[in-house]
Amino acid sequence: MSVVIAQWRGFKAATWLGWQISSNWTQPLLFVIYSVLRPLSAAFILVVMYQVISGNKAGTVAYLAFLVTGVAFWSFVQNGFAGFSNGMAEDRGEYRMLKYVYMSSLNFYVYLLGRALAQLGSAVASTLIVLVIATIALGLPIHPLDVNYPLLIGGSALALLAVVGMAMAYGLLLLQMVDSHGYGELGAAFLYVISGAIFPISVLPGIFAFVASLTPLAYWMELVRRSLLGAHAVRMFPALSDGDVLLRLVVTTAGALLISHLVFTWADRSSRRQGLIDRESNW
């Protein structure tokens, strides 16, 4: 029991540390504004692009909702993948404390989960504000009482587990590099293209569309839209029922976690062998 309590305390400390690192540079209100500016602008870029092409014709709201929901929920991946994987390099190079965490009695996975949770926490406000502003400004068909919350929360929990798992493996892989600045964003940018966040994955060329269909993100985006928009949702997988999409999300999440664990284990062993955990990177 004492081991569980110790791990729980470590988890809480890691979460608090992650939150402090990402937010203690300014006042909370300013932090929220900065966190919201980027996704909100990204959403409005897509809205204007769409309106330029569609010319405000009738029936355009459904596709606008497709774009806005994708961008709004992308904050979780941006923070949970790019922010978190960068955070591991920062712990090593900038704060030079990764080695101490590694040596402590706290399970490394537990520490990383705590750090990741802080990143995801800061995405919540961003997602909510983008959704609220866009819904009001564009008249999107999102009604809080009609949202399928179990599907939204269940699907998101699964997908974010996969995102954190992938980010852990990717972040540890990045420790192989002396200077991995920008690589977290690069990984997230690649996922952005194949996730179905801003366009249906069927638009992608064959091989990329196939890869996209193997990741949990496309199914998560589909579930997010179906749960928020109901019958108004533009569907990427019209032939699949909600249950089918959820099943695919479960399977791809399990696959992503398994592969992530294998990569993580290899990268971990390799880092220890090469002495990369406490490598000086002249941050």
Binding site: L186, A189, Y192, I198, W283
Partner: protein, 272 residues
């Protein structure tokens, strides 16, 4: 022994500070990958958005040209505006200030080197996306577009020098501020759509950023028939005027903020 004049030192400082960037263009393969792929992937994502909307090919050209300037804007933000922030963290800023030269010359050197560095990245975006997605341009507008492009880059890096002096006052928040200057600027400058779509007020506000009018002018020249914000000649004139305006403001700001930074001991303040 003859001491070199202030002008000689100023002129020698520019290539001296630009040199590390010329060398750095190919020195760090890790940076080549990110600096090339980040704007490239971002551009490709927007191309697919237009494809999903069944937009005419002309709009793909819009995105490509936006992606080209995006590489420069990222360089201005991360390697100009925030540069003194990094230099301070690494202990270089105090050396620059103690050296018998001016920060203005150092900034100009950074701008020259940075522009060259971005050019190599932007050329990749232009070539790869244009070839892969079959985007074509008007050859007749190529030379004038190149001239407008050079004017835009000059104005952009003058703005970068202004931002660099302002960033002298930021600590850890510099990173977040630089982050916040990405998508909002892409939106205001109409990187991926005709800026005219934003309406007169927002587009007018966006025109304070040199890329906005420069990009609109380049699109008019290379993709004839695209919606224009204001007539081409006025756009070129406005961008040309922004060069001395931002240049002067950057020097003024640098003088004031350098003095204040000395008074507040911010030139050596470490944040990491």
């Amino acid at each position: 022994m003859n001491r070199p004049s202030a002008l000689t030192i100023f002129l020698k400082t520019i290539p001296a500070r630009a040199h590390p960037r010329f060398v750095g263009v190919y020195r760090n393969p890790a940076w080549i990958v990110t600096e090339t792929l980040l704007p490239l992937i971002g551009t490709i994502a927007m191309v697919y958005v237009y494809r999903a909307l069944h937009a005419p090919t002309r709009y793909l050209g819009f995105v490509v040209l936006g992606g080209v300037l995006l590489a420069f804007w990222q360089n201005v933000i991360w390697a100009m505006a925030t540069q003194f922030f990094w230099d301070r963290a690494q202990g270089n800023l105090e050396l620059f200030v103690m050296a018998p030269t001016s920060l203005a010359a150092i900034l100009l050197g950074m701008a020259v080197g940075g522009a060259y560095m971005s050019l190599t990245r932007a050329a990749t975006v232009l070539l790869v996306v244009s070839l892969v997605f079959g985007v074509s341009y008007s050859l007749a507008g190529l030379l004038p577009a190149l001239a407008v492009f050079l004017l835009t880059i000059a104005a952009l890096y003058c703005l970068g020098m202004l931002l660099a002096s302002l960033f002298l006052f930021y600590q850890r928040e510099a990173w977040h501020l630089a982050d916040a200057l990405q998508e909002p600027i892409y939106f205001l400058s109409g990187f991926y759509f005709p800026v005219r779509s934003l309406g007169a007020v927002v587009a007018g506000l966006g025109s304070l950023i040199p890329m906005t009018l420069g990009l609109d002018a380049i699109r008019q020249l290379l993709l004839p028939g695209t919606p224009q914000l204001i007539p081409l000649a006025w756009e070129v004139l406005a961008v040309a005027l922004q060069i001395p305006i931002f240049g002067y403001l950057s020097q003024l700001s640098l003088r004031i903020l350098e003095r204040r930074a000395r008074q507040d001991a911010r030139l050596i303040l470490r944040t990491t």
